[in-house]
Structures are given as structure tokens and as C-alpha cells.
């Protein structure tokens, strides 16, 4: 049967991988190509690259890096950041991406989800959502978690699925960087109303947190994290052995 996936996320700015806590105080960690190779060797099931540069030069640097990664690492690659049009899909797919993650671009233009799904297939379109609790409901935030869009996250997830998103990334701003565990309440609420694969993001601090995620919420397909993998406090090879020993199916 299909395994659960462990996915390291690499935020790239000006050609370097960075990781912030609660999206602020971004700190440089390492070279993306080197890190991709290390993660591939340690058994990562997929890699996610977010381009967090805003400039044209930065974007060019990012696609060069993506090509470099895709010529050396042969596992699925998901790319996000600055995806606003189908031309942006085309640009990163040509550089070796397999899936493209849309976030703010889909909020600005919700038709983008359906247009891209039609052109490249549902499996290619990942709807990534930064979600935070506001006045008792789950609210979608845009621009890297800075702006409250007023959109209800449950409705947005349903809209995404109905319009051809093949997968959802749910990133909880409330638990991101805190390392106290995934946001089970938020994930469960969204899993209950959708049937496409869900990648949980935000809050993983140790190996137990991944076990809790897959054990408590069997509907969740993958766990995504950045900092704990980048700083070596959780090694992917150890994590997969740990989960496999606890009967969570893993690619070992």
C-alpha cells in the first residue's frame, strides 16, 4: 500500500536555505543543492522548495538551483513561492519540478487552481494554505502568513479540492516553529471535509510528533518539517525507522 511520506521543506532566498520561527527572524542554514542530496540519501520521500525571494534576480537564481537539484536528485520535487500564473507553473515544471504549490497566487486568482489542473493534471497542483485561528475559526493567511484574507480555511480547502487541487498542504501558523507537535485540531477539521491527500506542516519538534500525527489522524498522508531536519535534531533515516517499527508504513 502507499506509504506515509516524510518531507523536508527548503525555503530558499537568494540561493540559500533559510528557516524562520513563526515566519520571522529568518536564519540561513545551508546550500540547497547539497541539502537536497543529503535528504535524498537519508530517505526523504519528496522535497519541497519554496522560493521566498521577491526579486527577478532571485527568481532566476532559484530556477538555476532547481535545475541543479533535479539533475542530481531523483525523487518527487514540489516547488512553491511566487506562483501566480500558469506561466509560473510552466517555468518551474521545465526545471524539473513534478508538482507546483500555489498559495497567495490562488487567493488572488482562485481560477488558477482549475486552469493549472486542466493543463498539467490534478496530481500536479498542490494547494498550500497558511492557516491561523481568528475569533474561533480557522482563517487563511496570505503573503507568507502576514495578511488575514478573511477566507475560512475549511471552505477554501473544499474549494481547492472541487476545482482540481490534487493535494493540500496545511501549515498551521499557530504551531509553526513552536515544535510542540502538529496542529491536530486544525488538521482533523480539514481532513474531515476533504478526500485528497493532506500534507501536515507546522509544529513538528521530535519523532513522537510524527507518530502522533499518523496514528491519530490516519487520513493524513505526509508530515512536512524544516528546522528540525536542517539542524539535525531529527534525522530522517532515524525517523523512518522509528515510525516503521511502530507499524506506520514507510519507504525504508
Amino acid at each position: 500500500m502507499v506509504t506515509k511520506r516524510i518531507i523536508p521543506c527548503l525555503d530558499v532566498r537568494n540561493g540559500r536555505v533559510v528557516k524562520g520561527t513563526n515566519f520571522e527572524n529568518v536564519k540561513d542554514v545551508a546550500d540547497p543543492v547539497e541539502m537536497a542530496r543529503i535528504y535524498n540519501d537519508s530517505g526523504a520521500d519528496e522535497l519541497v522548495f519554496y522560493d521566498i525571494t521577491a526579486t527577478f534576480d532571485g527568481r532566476k537564481l532559484f530556477t538555476d538551483i532547481l535545475k541543479d537539484v533535479a539533475s542530481q536528485v531523483f525523487i518527487p520535487l514540489t516547488v512553491g513561492g511566487g506562483i501566480n500564473t500558469v506561466e509560473d507553473f510552466d517555468r518551474v515544471l521545465k526545471c524539473g519540478a513534478d508538482k507546483v504549490s500555489v498559495n497567495s497566487g490562488a487567493i488572488k486568482n482562485p481560477k488558477l487552481i482549475g486552469e493549472a489542473a486542466k493543463l498539467y493534471g490534478d496530481q500536479c497542483v498542490v494547494l498550500s494554505m497558511d492557516v491561523k485561528r481568528v475569533e474561533g475559526s480557522f482563517r487563511v493567511f496570505s503573503r507568507g502568513g502576514r495578511d488575514d484574507t478573511g477566507i475560512d480555511a475549511i471552505e477554501w480547502a473544499k474549494f481547492g479540492e472541487a476545482n482540481g487541487a490534487g493535494e493540500l498542504v496545511i501549515n498551521s501558523i499557530d504551531t509553526d516553529g513552536v515544535r510542540g507537535g502538529f496542529d491536530m485540531e486544525m488538521l482533523s477539521a480539514i481532513a474531515d471535509v476533504t478526500s485528497i491527500p493532506i500534507i501536515a506542516s507546522g509544529g513538528a519538534g521530535n519523532m513522537e510528533h510524527f507518530y502522533d500525527l499518523f496514528k491519530t489522524l490516519p487520513r493524513i498522508d505526509a508530515g512536512l518539517a524544516a528546522g528540525i531536519f536542517h539542524n539535525g535534531s531529527v534525522k530522517i533515516s532515524d525517523l523512518k525507522k522509528f515510525l516503521s517499527a511502530k507499524n506506520i508504513e514507510m519507504r525504508i
Binding site: 500500500m1 525523487i75 518527487p76 524539473g96 496530481q123 519507504r251
Partner: protein
């Protein structure tokens, strides 16, 4: 002629960056081409493909490369179809209608939906364990459990004698097939990490 070229058929379907890169990474002499001559002169051919069956087979026929690929395969040239490229090797596909394939392996391409357990998702996406025939050439470099990466909604329904690997998705989903010199994988070897590369390496040694 002493070439050792592996030719990837370029008929305007999908993204060939990763496939080409994976062969280059392995040190293979690889070309991506839409020219009949280059396919005829190559040592072996890879037929890739993503998207819908009808559209892909139509594009392949428009280029006339369907005939070249078929003739080469019938003359004994090693051929590897990947994903939709594998599906096109069969007699027909029931994806949105009934469309004719290349007929290089007997069998039909049929929907997963209705065959697999109702609570399982379609497309079948992700890493799944591959049960493979140990004595098959394509797997000669693999000596352990192998997981491979799938993305598909239809699968090949064919005689067991052509199936060299499968994966469990409540039913046995056809993973890899072989009919003499014609091979196919439903999964993406170019996205299946180390084990996928080892299969491509084995294919690129075929004469």
C-alpha cells in the same frame, strides 16, 4: 556502427527533464529526439508519457513516430515505456472511450476505480512497495525491498506471463511488464530514487 545511444521519444507530451537527467546522471549516452532516423540508429528507445491516453497516442501518431517505435520494437530493439508510455504499449485503453494502443503487449488499460477498495484514493499516487521477479534483467541490480513512485488512475490488465512486478493497492496493480524486448513500468523509475535509477541502468545495458 558502435553507438550506445538511448533515445527518449519526444512527441510533445510531458516534461522530459528528469528522465533525461537521470540517464545522464547514470553516465548513459542519451538523446531526446523526434527524428525517425535517430530512433532507428539508437541502441534502445524509451517511450515516456504523462496526461491522457487519447491525447498522447494522437500526438504520437501525428508525428508518425508510432510506426517507427513499433517497427524498431518488432525488430528486437529494446524498448521501455514509462507510465502512460507503458500503457500505450498495450492493445487498447478504456480511458474516456476506447482507444487503440501500439499493440506490442497483449492486454488492455482499465480504470482502477471500481476494481480497488472504495475508500482508496484515485489517482494512486505515492510510494508503494514493488514485488518483483528476482530473475528479471531489469531488476538485476536490486537486492532488497524496493519502493517505487506511482502517479496514475488506470492500469494494465494483462496476462500474468507479461507481468514482472506489481504493487498492492487492495488489488495487485501492474507495476512492470515485459514481452521479449519490450518493457514497461507503470511507476516512474526516474522519480523512484536509488532503485529507479538501478532499473534504468539495467535497461541501458540492453542490446
Amino acid at each position: 556502427m558502435s553507438n550506445n545511444v538511448t533515445a527518449i521519444v519526444d512527441y510533445g507530451v510531458g516534461n522530459l527533464f528528469s528522465l533525461r537527467s537521470s540517464l545522464e546522471f547514470l553516465g548513459c549516452d542519451v538523446i531526446v529526439t523526434d527524428k525517425k532516423e535517430e530512433l532507428i540508429n539508437a541502441k534502445r528507445i524509451i517511450l515516456p508519457g504523462v496526461g491522457a491516453f487519447e491525447d498522447a497516442v494522437k500526438k504520437l501518431r501525428q508525428t508518425g513516430l508510432d510506426e517507427t517505435v513499433t517497427v524498431c520494437a518488432k525488430n528486437g530493439k529494446p524498448l521501455l515505456g514509462i507510465c502512460l508510455g507503458m500503457q500505450m504499449l498495450f492493445d487498447n485503453s478504456l480511458e474516456y472511450g476506447n482507444h487503440k494502443g501500439l499493440g506490442l503487449i497483449p492486454g488492455s488499460v482499465v480504470p482502477l476505480k471500481g476494481k480497488i477498495d472504495a475508500d482508496l484514493k484515485v489517482p494512486h499516487i505515492g510510494w508503494n512497495k514493488l514485488a518483483y521477479k528476482k530473475d528479471e534483467d531489469l531488476f538485476k541490480y536490486i537486492d532488497s525491498e524496493a519502493y517505487v513512485y506511482y502517479v496514475h488512475s488506470y492500469y494494465a490488465d494483462t496476462d500474468d506471463s507479461y507481468i514482472i512486478a506489481n504493487s498492492d493497492y487492495s488489488i495487485k496493480v501492474t507495476g512492470a511488464v515485459k514481452n521479449a524486448n519490450v518493457y514497461g513500468t507503470q511507476f516512474h523509475p526516474e522519480k523512484s530514487g536509488k532503485h529507479g535509477l538501478l532499473m534504468l541502468k539495467a535497461f541501458c545495458e540492453k542490446e
